[in-house]
Symmetry: C2
Subunit: 347 residues, 2 copies
DNA sequence: CGCCGTCATGTTTACGTAAACATGCTGTCA
DNA sequence: TGACAGCATGTTTACGTAAACATGACGGCG
């Protein structure tokens, strides 16, 4: 009854239980409460018990704003991203959150719903005011370069999915190597060449996969068919599939992600083309469902958990060293997972 | 050169730029800086310009810990969840983050990697110390009831995916109605009865879908086949599909989510059963890929964005009213999306 | 012409915590 | 036995911000 602060209309926001309250009840100074609260030595056990009892009775919980103010840090890492919808992003964020929690850090999410210059700029501006010790940016970094948008100076930062390794500390999966493995696998099976359904043109991940695809074909002296442009969605993969199902005969396709590969599978199925006997399909990501597509999808596995883990490691390193991140790119290996959607061409 | 604080080894963490620094440079008091910073009236424009210039020169950014301490709130909402891997959770979190950002609130993620009592307890304990004004819990709430685990008193909270509506403020999709629509659709097509692949037994969402399935069959006077137990994964759906492909003849299956439905599709395909002509399949969730399964999946659409939106609304309402949430359940409608995986039974 | 209201700006204080320093008591050793 | 080390605990202070209150100058009106 006495803690009716919340209901007072028009009144100031009533304080929650503070150290002083606990101290008064326990009959000690607030500094002793602080010592008990932080497990410092030098408090005799009888006193400690009194304090703990008082804490329990009042339901004391430390005020982290005051702590943060005192210590000059928040034990929080900010994560800026466009979307949680993609498998990759949500898995990466999950890994970041888990590893950060293990180190005593919380995660603050700063979503950017529409990737306009203004919104990105706004996010970074807010970022500076936000209660975070460091930032992990999961996005196409080139958006940062095209305008006045830039990371606030003096903020520890790690970037995912970008080629900004010359200016920032970057963690990414080895997209190029994964794409190479995918295309090489198809060539090794005996396909004359390999078609490609790309990701969005603004995406660096998509760009790198397409570059590697082109490079492998060139190195092998194979003809390079025109790329089909997708946007990561199954729908765009389906549309590409309808095109590829027509002559000139395509026997192998490398899709820049698994969802577009799914769209391809449906389009080929509708057109009466058998995968893998008429056309081989390789995806990218290895989403959990890929093994249960019809047929099970050969794809490039990305270890998002590891990406998240390394992001946290790097960012904590920066915080602890008190220095900005060394520019450079940290690549997590990718590997091809061969399933039922690829085979030697007919004939 | 003079701001070399970060590099001093062993030294105290150097302060960043504070209001006092800006005030000194601008030749005003820190209170005037505060007024400019917060856009208060009563600062003559020439003074304001001076202050703004000083802010720019020093790269001043407000310290949110001090702000939070002053105001007694953090403008942050905590989100406790088990996993971001499921479509539903990641979409809900994304919507929460977006709507919260629009209201000036940030989102702090508190993941629980393994749902043991200890970990849940730990999360809630940390919660109390965390810099949040309210909490949204996305998880199977019954884990909270089985032991000593409970939400810290005095914390504003909204729960998702739970039947705790008698004690907490709950937002959820209308699982029961969605399941009813799915089963009724299959009966309307002329199927004699409908089989069901469940979610994990610990899941309330799964339980409610199964209950509704049973209820519709009973009301229609149809035989209720034994449930097949799944765990949301495509793999478990595949295993169930292999069982269902054997006699006694099953002509219609309702899977408790789309991934398990995907597993069913593959199992039936492998066994030479045609979907929908031999067997009809309905899923639940309406993940973006579902429209591109082979065949396109009939499924129950859940509006996760709306769930996230309402969570934020409710939680802000609690914060602003300064009161605990009214217990009660807020249901977001679900709707059946009919695609190609359902048809009338043969014969 | 003088009083007072208005307005821009400065000063004081409190938010909750914890480091640094101060106090006072106990026991030990020269 | 007296000075001092060691230890439990208390007091002071600072972290950065902003509300509340104080100050002082200027102008309008009786």
């Amino acid at each position: 009854m006495e803690r009716g602060g919340s209901g007072v209309p028009g009144g100031r926001r009533k304080q929650r239980v503070s150290m002083a309250d606990v101290a008064k009840l326990a009959g000690v100074s607030s500094q002793t409460v602080s010592r008990v609260s932080n497990g410092h030595p030098g408090v005799i056990s009888s006193t400690r018990e009194q304090v703990l009892a008082a804490m329990r009775e009042l339901g004391y919980r430390p005020n982290s704003a005051a702590r943060a103010l005192r210590y000059g840090q928040f034990n929080t890492i900010g994560v800026i991203l466009f979307s949680l919808s993609s498998t990759g992003n949500s898995r990466t964020v999950e890994a970041i959150a888990t590893h950060a929690a293990a180190e005593g850090y919380a995660i603050t999410l700063i979503p950017i719903d529409v990737p306009t210059q203004d919104n990105v700029l706004g996010a970074f501006t807010r970022m500076g005011e936000l209660a975070v010790d460091a930032v992990i940016v999961i996005m196409e970094i080139h958006l940062l370069d095209t305008g006045t948008v830039q990371l606030p100076p003096g903020v520890h930062v790690v970037v995912v999915d970008s080629d900004a390794g010359d200016r920032h500390s970057v963690v990414d999966t080895d997209q190029a190597d994964g794409a190479r493995q995918a295309v090489q696998h198809l060539l090794d099976l005996g396909h004359r060449t390999v078609w490609h359904v790309t990701g969005p043109q603004a995406s660096f991940a998509g760009q790198r996969r397409a570059q590697a695809w082109r490079a492998v074909l060139r190195e092998a002296g194979r003809p390079v068919p025109p790329a089909l442009y997708g946007d990561w969605s199954a729908e765009s993969g389906y549309a590409a599939g309808l095109v590829l199902a027509e002559p000139p005969d395509c026997t192998a396709v490398f899709a820049a992600n698994d969802q577009m590969a799914l769209g391809l599978l449906r389009a080929f199925h509708e057109r009466g083309l058998s995968v893998p006997y008429d056309v081989s399909v390789v995806g990218f990501d290895d989403i959990p469902d890929a093994a249960y597509f019809v047929p099970p999808l050969t794809t490039v596995h990305q270890d998002f958990a590891e990406v998240g883990h390394r992001c946290v490691q790097k960012v904590l390193q920066q915080i602890r060293a008190g220095e900005g991140g060394r520019p450079g790119t940290d690549l997590v290996p990718t590997r091809l997972v061969v399933r039922g959607s690829t085979a030697a061409p007919r004939g």
